[in-house]
């Protein structure tokens, strides 16, 4: 089975994020980058599928020079090859633009299954996987917590309010991951050495037949970026009894917080 994983490199959640001077982006100089956690589930699931069904796992990413690190990590985990679309135009892309670029690569790549993170934790767009499926005219199943493939069909489970649903579709399919799908493995040290010898194709937009002027052009634009307002200090309600405290709380909610 040929499996493609869509992977994005994002700032590590442990990094200290600062908003840049332009107030529309973040400062990227001093931050550490990692594989988007939802994409890490995708890599793990793809490797497990390969281990049971055979085939190969290809990592596909649109990014910069730095993104090589993330792809190499996925290769060290056990993926077989990587494709990086590295083009200055990608920097300014919106979700739809990224999806268009990834889909353009996939038009010429054979695959049975595509796995993507439900969202990237930096931009939180929830769009790329979905749009890629749309561009390729294949079924899309979102936020999967369990999957099973038999006879060319995939059955996916996902949670819905108060329960779960099982969806079925004929391959090729694109599904996106939800927390709980699996526990990603570490890139083992022998894996890191083996990754060195695995193929990693780096291409520009032109190489994949896209016009960088048009393909990278965003249809949406970020106009402002702000931190959430700083939390005010909490207040502990004093009182002799629960009844007294409840009364004081209701009063505070009405008079001070004005929420009821």
């Amino acid at each position: 089975m040929e499996i493609i994983v869509l992977l994005k490199q994002v700032p590590s959640t442990e990094s200290f994020i600062e908003i840049a001077e332009d107030e529309m982006s973040i400062k990227k100089d001093d931050i550490k980058f990692v594989i988007n956690p939802y994409d890490e589930f995708a890599v793990e699931e793809a490797i497990r599928l390969k281990e049971t069904h055979g085939g190969s796992v290809t990592i596909l990413s649109a990014g910069t020079d730095k993104t090589v690190e993330a792809i190499r990590t996925a290769l060290a985990m056990g993926a077989d090859k990587g494709i990086l679309i590295n083009d200055p135009a990608i920097e300014g892309c919106d979700a739809l633009g990224t999806a268009r670029i990834l889909a353009a690569v996939l038009k010429d790549t054979p695959f049975d299954l595509i796995i993507a993170g439900q969202r990237a934790v930096d931009d939180d767009n929830f769009q790329v996987g979905l749009a890629v499926a749309e561009f390729l005219s294949i079924p899309h199943i979102s936020m999967v917590i369990k999957q099973e493939i038999t006879d060319g069909k995939i059955r996916c489970q996902r949670t819905v309010e108060g329960g779960s649903v099982t969806l079925e579709a004929r391959l090729p399919v694109l599904f996106t991951t939800q927390r709980g799908l699996n526990e990603p493995r570490y890139a083992s040290l022998p894996g890191i050495m083996k990754a060195k010898k695995k193929p990693l194709d780096i291409k520009t937009l032109e190489d994949i037949g896209l016009d960088s002027e048009k393909a990278g052009k965003p249809m949406t634009k970020i106009t402002a970026m702000k931190f959430p307002p700083e939390r005010k200090e909490g207040k502990i309600i004093e009182g002799e009894s629960a009844r007294e405290k409840a009364a004081a709380l209701v009063m505070a909610l009405r008079e001070e917080a004005r929420v009821i």
Binding site: V68, E69, T73, A76, A187, S188, L189, I192
Partner: protein, 394 residues
Amino acid sequence: MIFSETFEKEIMLNFDLTKEQEMIRKEVRRFAAKEIAPVAGDLDESEEFSVELTTKMGEIGLFGMFVSEEYEGQDMDYLSYIIAVEEIARVDGSQAATIAAGNSLGIGPIYYFGTKEQKKKYLPKLCTGEALWGFGLTEPTAGSDAGGSKTTAVLDGDEWVINGSKIFITNAACEMTMGVTVQAITGTRPSGKPEYTCFLVEQGTRGFKAVPMHKKMMWRASNTAELYFDDVRISKDSLLGEVGDGFHQMLKTLDNGRLSIGAMGLGGAQGAYEAALKYAKDRIQFGQPICKFQAVAFKLADCAVEIECARNLLYKACCLKDQNRAFEKEAAMSKLYCSEMMGRVVNHAVQIHGGYGLMKEYDVERFYRDQKLLDIGEGTSEIQRIVISRYIGC
């Protein structure tokens, strides 16, 4: 012109690690944070060697990093191995000890001096972390002074017969131990000095007993053993190298081992320093974080400087070794400096934590204890100074 260009390139210093080395650091750090950090304090407290954790460390490839793939090793350079030890030590000294001793003392001598058959027999299991191997040098009467050794081996027909005992042997008496390399006296040299030879003794050999040692101050989750040899008979080919090679093998093994002890000092210092820096930013006294007091800030600045120096020295020693150049002097310097440097750093780290630093709830308490071994094991600080002073021509 061309000549001078290449010449310029060759003498240029390069402080960057390779991509692979960076990845190793990142992955081992992630592993240590997730798998070791949550249990390190408890294992220390209960003085428990963890088979589970050792197996996991084996699974990600922490054993046999410098061994060729032929024997299930990872075929990496020595610096990669040292970075891995450093990252484990950043979180816990005991687990770093299991790794460092397992590699430098357990795997090393078999890999460097063993026959093909011996390597085939033992290394695959040791390199995958399924089993451990000890290196028995120290005896109750022979610590710094190997000349005080009493353990002997006598050839009797087709068998060697070993008698004697060893003390403080790491990884030698746990459920995973497969055997030990033991140094014994096999005769007298023409100079009148004893002739030493190393032997491979498997666990379970008749007359060989390995007993765990308890009540340690440090490395409490690492396995330390006393070994007893009572007419232990082993086959003629259980010898490591040739008769009389023992002393030379021991020196070579310790040269490598010094790098990994250095890595433990460096990593431990890094861990303690990071904990102290974080604490100093969070702890408020007199209305401000204590890191704003110059007395505290300067301690942290000193730690940062010393750690940087230690890392440069240790990596340089590894770099020399990886290029097959003489590294022995730098290895001794690294062992001495990294170990004692960690002592200064943990002292500051506990001081910065105040009373809390003396409580087991805080990791620096464990780091403070674990450091002391580094001044003593694999050649005391005094012995390192003797070695270095000889190298510089005193």
